[in-house]
Structure formats: C-alpha cells, structure tokens
Amino acid sequence: MPEFTLRTLADQLVNGLVIGNIYALIAIGLALIFGVANLINFAHGSVYMIGAYVGWVCVTWLGWPLGPTFIVVAVACAALGVLIERLGLRRLQSEARIAPLLATIGISFALDQLVQLIFSPNPQSFPSPLPATRVMLGGVSIGALDALIAVITVTSAAMLFAFLRFTRLGWALRATAQDREAAQQMGVDVNAIQALTFAVAAVLGGIGGVMIGMYFTSVYPTMSYGAMLKGFAANLLGGLGSVPGAVIGGLLLGLIETFGVALLGSTYRNLFTFVILIGVLVLRPTGLFGARRAMPPEPLTGTFVANSRPVRVPRFVVIGGLVAAVLLPFISSNPYLLQIFTNAWLFAMLALSITLVTGTAGQMSLGQAGFLAIGGYASALLAMRLGWPLELSLLAGAAIAAALGTLLTWPVFRLRSQYVALATLGIGEVINQIILNWEGLTNGVLGLSNIPPLSLFGLPIIETSPIYWFALAMLVVAALFQWRLMQSHLGRTWRAMREDEVAARAFGVSLNRYKALAFIAGGFIAGLSGAFTAHMYSYINNETFAATTSILGLTMVILGGMGNMSGAVVGAIALTALPELFRPLADARYLIYGVVLLLLVRFRPQGLLGTV
C-alpha cells in the first residue's frame, strides 16, 4: 500500500477533482436529457468520444490552437446531438419508454463502429498543445491542463446556470422538464426544446471528451462506453436529472475513483463506478442529494412488448429446419461455414436466455453476458483445477451461472424498466471486474488457457463437425427445456408479470420469486452456452464475454420478436451468419447491428415473428 504523505494526498485531491470535473460535464448532459426527455441516453458516451476525435483531428492533423478547436468540437457535437434526438427519440415518443433507450444503444453501436472504421480501433496519441510547466501552489502541483479543465468546466457550468435561470429559452427548457404537456399548452415548442437540450448536452460531452483526450494523451473508439457509465454513475449519485447533483456527483465520483485507485491499484478503477451505480440504484434511487420523492413514474407495462399476434411457426417448419441443421455437415464440409453455425447455435442459446428474461418476464437485461462469463469460468475451473469430467463441469457451470447470477441480480428486482436495464448493465460489468481482479481464481487479464477440450463419455470432440452437432444438440435441449416451462403455469405467470406488475401482485404473484425463476432458468441456458464456449476455444479471458455481447443478444431477440423462441433462433442465425456470409461487411458488423436495432425499434418493434 502506498504511503500517504500530505503531499501525495493533495496531489490525489487535484487529480480526483480534475477527473471529477470531466465526469461532471458528461453527467450534466445526461441530467439535462433525462430531465427533459425522461430518457437514459446511451449514445451520450459516443458523442463524448466523437468530440474527442474531432478535437484530436483539429489539434494534431490541422495543428489548430485550442480556441478554434473547441468551437469546431462544439458545433460538430451540437449537430450530432440534434441528429440523435431526431433518430432516437422524436418518432418514438409514443412508444414504450424503453424504445428510445434501445434506439440510443443502436446509435451508439453505429457511431462507435463508424469511428473505428475511419480511424482504426487503436488508440491515437493526443499530445496536449499546452505548456508542460507546473506551478506549485501551497505544496500542490498544478499543470496548465488541470487549470484549463477547471476553468472550462466552471465556465460551462456557470453559462448553463445563467442560461437556465435568466433566459426565456432556459425557462422554456426547465418548464418542459417539469411538465411537458403544460409547457406545450403554454406555447413552448417542446420538440425544439428537446433538440436544443440534446445539442447543449452534446456540446458539454464533446468538450469533456477533448479534455480527457488531452489529459490521458490518447483517444480511442471504446472510450465512449466507460465514459457513458461514469456519467450515469455520477448522475445517479447526485440524483438522476438534477444538474447541480450531476456536478457534485461527478466530483465525488472522480475523488472516490482516484483515491480508490491509489489504495487498491488501477485495475479497480471501474469497479468503483459500477458498485456506486448499483448501490445507489438499489439503496437510494433518488441519489444522495435528491429529494425523497419517488422515482419518475414509469409506464405500467415496463417493457418493450407491442400488442401483436405472433406468427405461429408450423411444427413441420421447425422440424424441417432442425433436420436441415443436423444434415448441414453432410451438405457442406466447409469448416468455416460450420464454425459460423456453431457460433450461431451458441448465440441462439444466449438469445433464448434473453428472450426468457426480457421478452417473457419483462426484465430488460443488458448484462446477460455476465451469465455466459460465470458459466464459462466455472466450468473451465472445475475441469482444470478439480479434474471434473466435461459433462459434469458443463452442467455445474450452468448451475453456478444460474445461482450466482440470480443472486447478483436479486437487488435489481425492486427496480423497473429503464432502471433495470441500467442496473443489469452494471451487474454485467461488476462480474467482468471481479473476473479481472480476482487473479488467484481467474488469472486476471491473462485469462485461462489450456482449458480441457469438449468431450463426451471420455471421447474428445475436437473435429469441426462433431463440435457443430454437440452445440446443436445443446441448443435443442435448451429450447425443449424452455418450451416446457413456457407451456406450464410459469410461462403464463411470467407473461402476466410483464404485462402488469400491479395486477399480477393483486392475484398473488410474488414478483421477486418469478423474476428469480426467470433469471435462474435463463441463466442456466446462458451459462451452458458460456461453458461450452470456454471448452471449445480452450482459452477465455475477461473480454471473451464482453458487454457488447449482451446487447448483441438483445438485438437478436428484438429482431426475432420478444419472448418468441423461434424468433430468438432466427435472430441469432441472422445476426451471426449474415455478416460472415458477406465477408466485406464483417468489419462493420457492429455498425450493422446498431442500424438493425435502430430500424427495428422504429419500424417493427414486434420483431420479425412477433412478440409472444
């Protein structure tokens, strides 16, 4: 443990406040958008990242000074903010509240991949154009950049305050946030106000991005995701939707993180964010400084299930499809094709799991990859450390995923709709962080290698075709398992809970129990898929089951139709196989996923086969 002198303590304080300033800028933007549009904007991190790239282009390619750079960043981000409002929110206002949230996820996928395609996924060096001199101020060393960040943040916050408090437009914005319909009746153009809010939020986020790029001297496409989560955590800490709360929350988060890293090491950096995120959501959802009012009212059907009649897939089609799948290795011996379809079957299991939890039981899960990870690690470790036979370790891995994952998700059961999405996302990340930091068990970043291969009754399964059949067989077993549950009273009870929690409770449905049962059953299927993956690859690390996998699985489910089992399989095949079959598209697959998600939410919310 490093020794804390007064000097290092003061330095850490400055570091924490500087980082906290930037978190505050991101959090203010999220707070404004949440206030006006009641939306958790998942694309906000992408705006911040794009702001950083625009700044980087201006400074390092064009050699501009900082003044014009900030102006260009502000203009570009404002335009992007307006575009996001148009694509992600305007037309979805009348849909379930989760629809715009999903749309912003789609937009963020697309934007992140676009930047990757243009500038490569590698970090780009962003040297600060400011002098490197540091002044000592009362024993604390402060650099020019530290000072600039403080000045810009404080100026932006002051300008925002003045705008909200003293201009007519600012009044209109606050009025819209308080009561949209009343503001509209008083002649406020609420759509224009909403666009303006997105623009202002995007400018703040983009400027934050440039400054963080200079502070850490690099920019990279994936910086968006972490920033977005930090912004949420800061925002929640201060009270969702509150601008002063966002500032205080941002500064607090910066300080907690900096001191935490100094105490425990830098791999713990993100853990604090997620623990705060979940802790605040569960224990004090109004935030530290929020008034003790209830959370903003949510629509009664808290999920994204449109009224629709599902397409009934005739039995002969299902059986025909299955026969074709079984015969595929005889039709084509192309190992590449078989690998793609093996992957599709494993993804289909993830999609089944998500469709059960999110589609049938109505719990919007963005953390389902956490179940894959637990299943994968548990099975691999049981086989490696304890020498368990594969059949047993696969099942045990799945069971551990079901039990442990459900236990971790338990605190989320009291939340609804958007908050469930946010909290499950956080839980997925916490699982990832635990894997990263529990080195004694998981080997940390190095991951587990030499995982015993797949085998059955002692016979190793290492050829492409047998692996393909094994994966297919597991999918079929999982689907039968789920089908059986759907036909029992459980399927009915889950769907009733999804439709109306209040009415379900009034008829004796204890929500926690049935939410837990959904997560147990879904977690088992996901865990099985994760365990299989671990043995198939013989190597896994904390990035094998990244958070994007959860969202990809969710996109498959929405594509096929929420709660629709055939739809989940069709969605998995479509989104796994299609980008591979059109090889040039493979690099842009997340762009495709994002656009598909956006288009679905907008034009066919019930998916291809309809919700069940």
């Binding site: 059907t301 009224n307 009915r492 769907r495 209040v502 008829f507 004796g508 147990i520």
Partner: protein, 296 residues
C-alpha cells in the same frame, strides 16, 4: 365477527389526506357499496385494503386477524380479490390465461413457500409436469371456462383471443372473471360499470345480483346510484377522505350531508328526490371532462 373490519384507516399523500380515519365493516355474505364524489378517497381505500398501498395509521382485519400493510400477494392468498377502476387486464395474454392468473394462488405450486427450495421445487414441477400437476392444470382450465360461461357468450367465444383485442366492456368482464377464479371470500369491485352503456350496465347489474345470490361478499365502488340502491345491503358515503354517512340505501339517499357532498351546497326548496339524479348527472358531466386518459 365481521369478515372485514377497517378501523381508523388513514393515508396521506404529501399533505393531502386521501383517507382520513375511515371505519367500516363487511359481514360475510353482505354487499356494501362505497359512494362519494371524485377524489373522495374511495379507490385509495380499496388500495389500502388490498395491500397495494400502506396506511399511515389504522387497522385492517380479516376474520378479526390483523392484515394491515400486508403485501397484495399475501392478501390474494387469503381470498381477497379485486378489479381495478380503469381496467387492468393482461393485454397480450389470452382471455382464458387472464382468468387462469386469477387461480394462481389455488395451484399446488403456490403452496411451495420455502424460500429457495420452494422455487427449485416449482421449477422442477413445471419441467416434469407429473400426473397430479397435469390433472390440476386440466381442472383449472375447465373451471376457467366455466367462469367465462357465466357471462353467456360475451367471453367464451373469445377465450383464446388476446385481451387487448377485446371491447372495453369485455375487458371489464374479463377482469371480474379473473377475480372470480380466485374463489374470493371478499370481492372488491371498483366501478364495474364505468364506461358501459345502459344495456351493458343493466346486464352487469344482473350479473352482480347473481354473484350476491351465490352468497359472495362484495365491496363495491360505484357511481351509478340506481345500481348502488338496488344492490347494496348497506351504503357508505365518503367525502374528502372521511366517511360522512352510512346506512341502508334509503336512509343514505335522504341524508342531507350526502346531498351536500354531491352538490357542494344545499339547494333551498328542492326535494331530495330531484336532487339525487341531478347529482348523478353533474358527476357524469364532470367525469366525462376530467377522467384522465392515463391510468393513475
């Protein structure tokens, strides 16, 4: 001993007292109506009795046993069923499945209460589906169809349609069918005829009368006073969160406090019989204008 007893129930919402020291009893087999102008606290009272909201003070007793503040799922298991003011059917479930949810607490799986093991057992039961489970499943489905049949050919031909596709009146009927499937000891109906036309209202009147004839205990919120007068054994009048009158329909009808509550002031020279329907019409007019489009 009364089946339901409510003593001094009170609920405040940020300074507004929605229910203010209400007492009431319902004997087994009795039909008691709660009437009063909008905002009198009737639905809040229902929510407090059924556990959807918790009182700030006061007691609720079922068979003399305190059940104050119990969660709704536990109260449902004790035999308290309700319908909702604005209708809350499960839109994407079939009509039959809606009714079967009503029978949720009567399933064997519901008796597996042990914290973790009960859940595992329920999962196993749903997976294995042993003969006893199948028999129960079949029996409950049959029973649900019988409940639907109580509404003649209103619901039965639509048993497999999703509930969102039903007409408004049929959704209200589905809700009542769902509540009946619980085999309630006490049934709370919150404005069962709201939004129904005169024919449908008359049909509902007969239906509730038949429930009463079968010995069901009913607590009813209703605005259509003629229906209240015909059905109720006793009427409780609420205004501004308080109980202002109670008694047999005839005596309540002529109570000056009731007339005042409905009209805001006494109209000199007018006779109670003229006032009553006028009051109802006023209320209807107000209702038509102010009923919120969203469920509150």
């Amino acid at each position: 001993m009364a089946l339901l007893e409510v003593r001094g129930l009170r609920r405040e919402f940020g300074g507004v007292v929605a229910v203010d020291g209400v007492d009431l009893t319902v004997e087994a087999g009795e039909t008691v109506s709660v009437i009063g102008p909008n905002g009198a606290g009737k639905t809040t009272l229902f929510n407090l009795i059924t556990g959807l909201d918790k009182p700030d003070a006061g007691q609720v007793l079922l068979d003399g046993r305190p059940i104050t503040g119990w969660p709704p799922e536990k109260l449902a298991a004790l035999g308290i069923a309700r319908t909702f003011q604005h209708g809350r059917v499960f839109g994407n479930l079939s009509v039959l499945d809606n009714v079967l949810i009503g029978a949720h607490t009567r399933q064997a799986a519901h008796r597996l209460r042990a914290p973790v093991l009960g859940m595992i057992a329920e999962l196993a039961l749903a997976l294995v589906q042993p003969p006893a489970w199948r028999e129960e499943h079949r029996r409950l489905r049959e029973e649900a169809r019988d409940v639907l049949a109580l509404f003649g050919d209103r619901l039965l031909p639509r048993a497999d349609q999703p509930a969102y596709s039903l007409s408004y009146a049929n959704r209200r009927r589905t809700e009542i069918a769902r509540a009946l499937a619980l085999r309630p000891r006490l049934l709370l109906l919150d404005e069962p005829t709201a939004g129904m036309n005169p024919t449908e209202t008359a049909e509902m009147l007969e239906f509730i009368r038949s429930l009463k004839g079968r010995g069901l205990t009913l607590l009813l919120i209703e605005h259509k006073l003629s229906l209240v007068m015909q059905l109720s054994d006793r009427v409780i009048v609420m205004d501004d969160g308080r109980k202002i009158a109670e008694g047999v329909p005839q005596s309540v009808r002529n109570d000056p406090k009731v007339i005042e509550a409905y009209l805001g002031h006494k109209r000199p020279g007018s006779d109670a019989r003229d006032v009553q329907p006028a009051g109802e019409d006023d209320r209807r007019a107000v209702l038509a204008q102010t009923r919120p489009s969203s469920v509150s």
